[in-house]
């Protein structure tokens, strides 16, 4: 399945203060080998948000993925699968293994606003009795069990408050807007097959 945006790449939306524009946010482009994400493999790009939307800014990943999913549908874009859950776990290795590329979207309590975007490599993340898995561990499990090693990134959107409330704080909403604009640009910049 190809990732095709019918209108081509939209204009950039970043000002000079953007951490992405300044290189603090990670990649400035898709950094994908041609054809890999959309592929010749016939596999989709997976956008996976996680967090608890009932915990204020912990839900930024869910909110962004919902927005991206609506945008993909409205734009008639194909080759994109959106998914979300409270946290990552072992079964997500199945979805990762079925994808040509993966973007995880999570909240972060530290780091620059509005967001960071970094390449991930499969690795174990060791922690005590956790009931969730880190994205690096999900990638490692997909690699080990299914021999799949899709390129993957983590978009970390900066949050401020984590109380059992909704909706997002104003600053988190602004960060989601910036992250969404950048991610849409990024998705559109993936070259066609």
């Amino acid at each position: 399945m190809d990732l095709i945006h019918p209108r081509g790449k939209p204009a950039g939306v970043y000002g000079p203060d953007s951490p992405v524009a300044q290189g603090r946010g990670g990649l400035s482009g898709p950094d994908l080998p041609t054809g890999q994400a959309r592929g010749g493999l016939g596999r989709p790009l997976l956008i996976y948000g996680y967090g608890n939307p009932g915990r204020q800014d912990d839900g930024v990943g869910i909110v962004l993925v919902e927005q991206i999913e609506a945008w993909v549908k409205a734009e008639g874009m194909t080759g994109v699968v959106c998914d979300a859950n409270y946290q990552l776990n072992a079964e997500d290795a199945l979805a990762v293994a079925a994808a040509a590329a993966v973007v995880f979207v999570d909240a972060t309590a530290r780091g620059p606003a509005p967001f960071t975007f970094k390449r991930l490599t499969p690795q174990q993340v060791i922690s005590f009795s956790t009931h969730a898995m880190a994205p690096e561990s999900v990638l490692a499990l997909a690699d080990e069990l299914y021999g799949a090693r899709p390129p993957a990134w983590l978009m970390g959107i900066r949050g401020q408050e984590w109380e059992p409330n909704a909706p997002l704080t104003a600053s988190a909403q602004a960060n989601v807007a910036a992250a969404g604009a950048w991610l849409r640009d990024w998705m559109c910049s993936i070259p066609p097959a």
Binding site: D58, S127, L145, P164, N165
Partner: protein, 491 residues
Amino acid sequence: MTRKIIIDPVTRVEGHGKVTIQLDDDGQVVQSRLHIVEFRGFERFVQGRPYWEAPVLVQRLCGICPVSHHLAAAKAMDVVVGAGTGTGLTPTAEKIRRLMHYGQVFQSHTLHFFHLASPDLLFGYDAPPETRNVMGVALANRELATQAVLMRKYGQEIIAATAGKKIHGTGAIPGGVNKSLSREERDRLLKGDGGPLNADQMVTWAQGALAFFKDYYRQHRDFIDGFSRFPSSHLSLVRPDGALDLYHGVLRAVDAEGRRILDDVDSQDYLQHFREEVKSWSYMKFPYLKKLGPENGWYRVGPLARMNVADFIPTPLAQEEFEAFRAVGGGKPNDRCMLTHWARLIEVLHAAECMRDLLQDPDILGSDLVVTGSRQSEGIGLLEAPRGTLFHHYRVGEDDLIQMANLIVSTTNNNEPMNRAVHHVARAMLTGVKEITEGMLNAVEVAIRAYDPCLSCATHAYGQMPLEVTLVDARGAVVARRRKSSVLAST
């Protein structure tokens, strides 16, 4: 000189446990405490919200076991809308809720056994942390790891089909459910789409997991029987005829000899029988049976307790396993902490059998979803969550707003047993030591882990559950500290 040991976490999520172990001048362990260092007052948050929002709101408590809170709150609100105290729903509503619950238990127990327990069993608790995790399992036993992934996936699909969606499900509502299964959903979950995600396969794999554990037990009987073993009372809901029932029942407790100390009381009367003690050093309360007092009235909940309290299991394959399990206890409640893993796997099999039965029941396709009756001002909903008995209690005003909420979560019910488990291991492994080895630290973890605690729930924090251990001397000085942070390790 007295010394103290602490275990502590560092992640972006605040909820965590801290273990402090104090040694006297002779190096003897004199005190061990599992501290909970996060509190967010969730009960106050739901005050002032409309009662019908509760089953969705309470899922904010925890992203780990939201289905348990969803169903317990819905059961409490059933009482509020006059739909009875557990048996008044339509057959379709009760069976859809049960299916959701068994899906939750199935995927939760699977996660615990394969991710958290099996690495300890496969590699030993003194193995390096780089191997004692799910990746280590995948490397050592690919078949086991692959099955675990698919079992988790199946449980999640059951939940999504019955709750409506994966996040903040809305399936259970006061007085019933808002959807049943379509024929297509039923067929897919029962038979799979030509792949392994079908009800029969889940039963088979659950039996395989049990065989794996029993084989391990035969080979490591001394370790399993001796590790963190101490007598206690046990509490669980049971069906009125004594059967294991994870969704609804009466409250029963037995003491270490198997004598009933709480005799099948109605869950609506829980306040007459339970109290919670507050201790200055922990935000997590210490529940106990009122008539026995805090010193003697504490109890265990969860899979081990349920196997000790129930008279039988009403599904045939799990019943066979139950009989083998009970035989090990020699007629008394089983007090071997590590056999909680066996009990947990029996419940995985029971849940798989129940899911298979329910998926073949035409009632789950029905359209009679909700009942209502005479509006009540108070509702109590209890459930056997994966980690143990879960209490939800609400009072609702005439304006339909929640005035009071009281939650006793499973991990809180296990507070005293977890503290005792830590103390037992600390005495066995840390007495007279001069430094904390990784193996010692891991042993403390393993003892706590058997209870599968969700400190996120217990403290009403959110997300994950890291740990810190500190060793302190007689004068209060920290001698050693080890933290369990989330760290990357090469595969």
